[in-house]
């Protein structure tokens, strides 16, 4: 009969992404294929077998840990700093409506500055220490956070807002019981985007100049053509970024009781 009928299941397909089995299976299969292809001699010398990367980890895990610490620290500091700045700017933008467009535009300008263009100048200004790397991590994470905060503060339902007016709620009650809770889902989805970005910012800063950090370890491995080690450092960066994302997602789950995506498609991360 009606074979062509649209089944409701297809419509729900995107809603039911809870299933982790299928993607996990694909990842495992890819790694297996990778190993197999390497063993069959199909891959160039610059692509090591997964097992070789595991070996490199066994060989130099203490080195990896040593270099991971400053990367994590500057990324975390940048992330926190960016969140505070975004909250402050967002609060100004929302409570003083006329400033909103200007603040967002400034955010766009700062965000469109290629990070690597800023890095050499910041290095001159702030020196070669951790402070310049923190600043770069902050800039890398700032814009999505700013957008999320502003959207969140503006997301207050109009009817509920009128209800608070009728209840004669104070400014503080409004903020605490209405504005902040309605902003939280937006804030969290922005935090999830920003966390890996701050890691990337720290990494780029370390590429330019650092004597300790995953970025500089990566460059050394590259120049000494230690292929498995180069891949290992990159995996380590991805791991740190994923971990950062995971921690925020976990916090979101605890605070909101589950992932929410109110923002929809507000552009992606700036890889």
């Amino acid at each position: 009969m009606a074979d062509g009928a649209i089944r409701p299941a297809r419509r729900a397909a995107l809603g039911m992404l809870g299933g982790i089995a299928a993607p996990a299976a694909i990842v495992v299969a890819l790694v297996a294929i990778w190993q197999g292809a390497k063993m069959a001699g199909l891959l160039p010398i610059t692509v090591p077998a997964p097992s070789a990367i595991a070996e490199a980890f066994g060989r130099s895990w203490s080195d990896l840990l040593y270099h991971m610490v400053p990367t994590v620290l500057s990324a975390a500091a940048g992330f926190v700093l960016a969140t505070l700045i975004a909250l402050a700017l967002g609060a100004v933008a929302v409570s003083w409506r006329r400033s909103e467009a200007t603040i967002l535009k400034l955010g766009i300008v700062v965000d469109s500055i290629p990070l690597i263009a800023l890095t050499p100048i910041l290095m001159v200004w702030l020196g070669n220490g951790i402070s310049s790397r923190v600043v770069i991590a902050t800039i890398a994470a700032l814009f999505p956070l700013l957008v999320g905060v502003v959207q969140g503060f503006k997301a207050v339902d109009r009817n509920v807002s009128e209800l608070f007016h009728i209840l004669a709620a104070s400014r503080w009650q409004r903020l605490r019981k209405l504005a902040f809770p309605s902003a939280l889902p937006y804030l969290f989805s922005a935090l999830k985007i920003a966390a890996p970005l701050s890691v990337l910012g720290a990494l780029i800063a370390e590429w330019v100049s650092a004597d300790r950090g995953l970025g500089i370890m990566m460059i050394y491995a590259l120049f000494s053509f230690d292929v498995p080690l180069a891949w290992l450092t990159i995996l380590a960066v991805c791991f740190v970024a994923t971990l950062a994302y995971g921690l925020v997602a976990l916090a979101e789950r605890i605070v909101l009781g589950g992932p929410q995506d109110p923002v929809g498609a507000t552009g992606g991360a700036h890889g």
Partner: protein, 260 residues
């Protein structure tokens, strides 16, 4: 679809305003810069005066122009490849429930991963040519476009799909007449975000690989302490990024004006 006179006048005013505001902003910024440098007698290695940067630009506009050309070419080529691949994949996936379920989480996961971090691997694997620079741009731009396109294609209103079904429309007709237009705002959001990061990716790839372009120019200027040239190149790259952002925004507004 005749536009009323009032509407077109309104639009022209908007586009003029859209150009005037950043220009004024830039002039104010340059004024502040000059003021800062002279008032505090800032040494040139920390911040050269605006006219020094301008002089560096004028001394060899061809060199900077060529660097801009290389960077733009790499960014544009990478963006184009990423766009075509991402849209076709998203269109293919959105018709298959199983594929969407398996692939979308991976794509979303990779979108949040710092894709740029793997640029060194690409340089190692593909060597130091422009192919590598373009490849870096492709992988960076691919995920935001793909994620947004998939969201867009599946954001089509249910009733609109049912309508096409009742009309007996083919899958292709449904895609062209309904799914694609509904997805356009999403696709452009992805493209806009990809475009700015494409410039960054192109510069980084040049920088890491030593291929000619703005990225290499900035790095060289920094390491040879040619501070005036450094500032000139940095400002050019900022203007470039802002122009690309504005351009994609304008195109997006034009193509999705029905959203009102």
């Amino acid at each position: 679809m005749a536009e009323t006179v009032a509407a077109s006048r309104e639009r022209r005013k908007l586009s003029l305003g859209g150009l005037a505001a950043p220009l004024a902003f830039a002039i104010v910024l340059i004024g502040l810069w000059k003021l800062l440098v002279t008032a505090f007698a800032v040494p040139a290695y920390i911040m050269p005066p605006p006219e020094a940067a301008l002089a560096a630009f004028e001394a060899d506009p061809g060199k900077i122009g060529l660097a801009v050309f290389y960077t733009l070419r790499n960014a544009a080529a990478g963006l184009a490849v990423a766009f075509v691949v991402a849209i076709s994949l998203a269109a293919a996936f959105v018709n298959s429930k199983a594929a969407t379920r398996a692939v979308l989480p991976i794509v979303i996961g990779l979108r949040t991963a710092p894709v740029l971090a793997i640029a060194p691997i690409l340089i190692m694997v593909f060597g130091r040519g422009i192919g590598t620079a373009i490849a870096v741009v492709v992988i960076v731009s691919f995920f935001p476009i793909m994620v947004n396109a998939m969201k867009g294609f599946s954001s089509t209103r249910k009733n609109a799909l049912e309508l096409m079904h009742v009309l007996g429309a083919s899958g292709a007709a449904t895609f062209i007449k309904v799914r694609l237009p509904f997805a356009l705002p999403f696709i452009f959001a992805g493209l806009r975000s990809a475009a700015t990061s494409a410039i960054l990716a192109a510069m980084l790839a040049e920088w890491l690989s030593g291929a000619p372009g703005l990225g290499t120019m900035i790095l060289d200027a920094a390491s040879y302490r040619k501070n005036d040239l450094l500032w000139a190149a940095v400002i050019v790259s900022m203007v470039l990024a802002y122009l690309i952002f504005s351009l994609t925004t304008a195109v997006e507004r034009r193509l999705t004006s029905w959203r009102g």
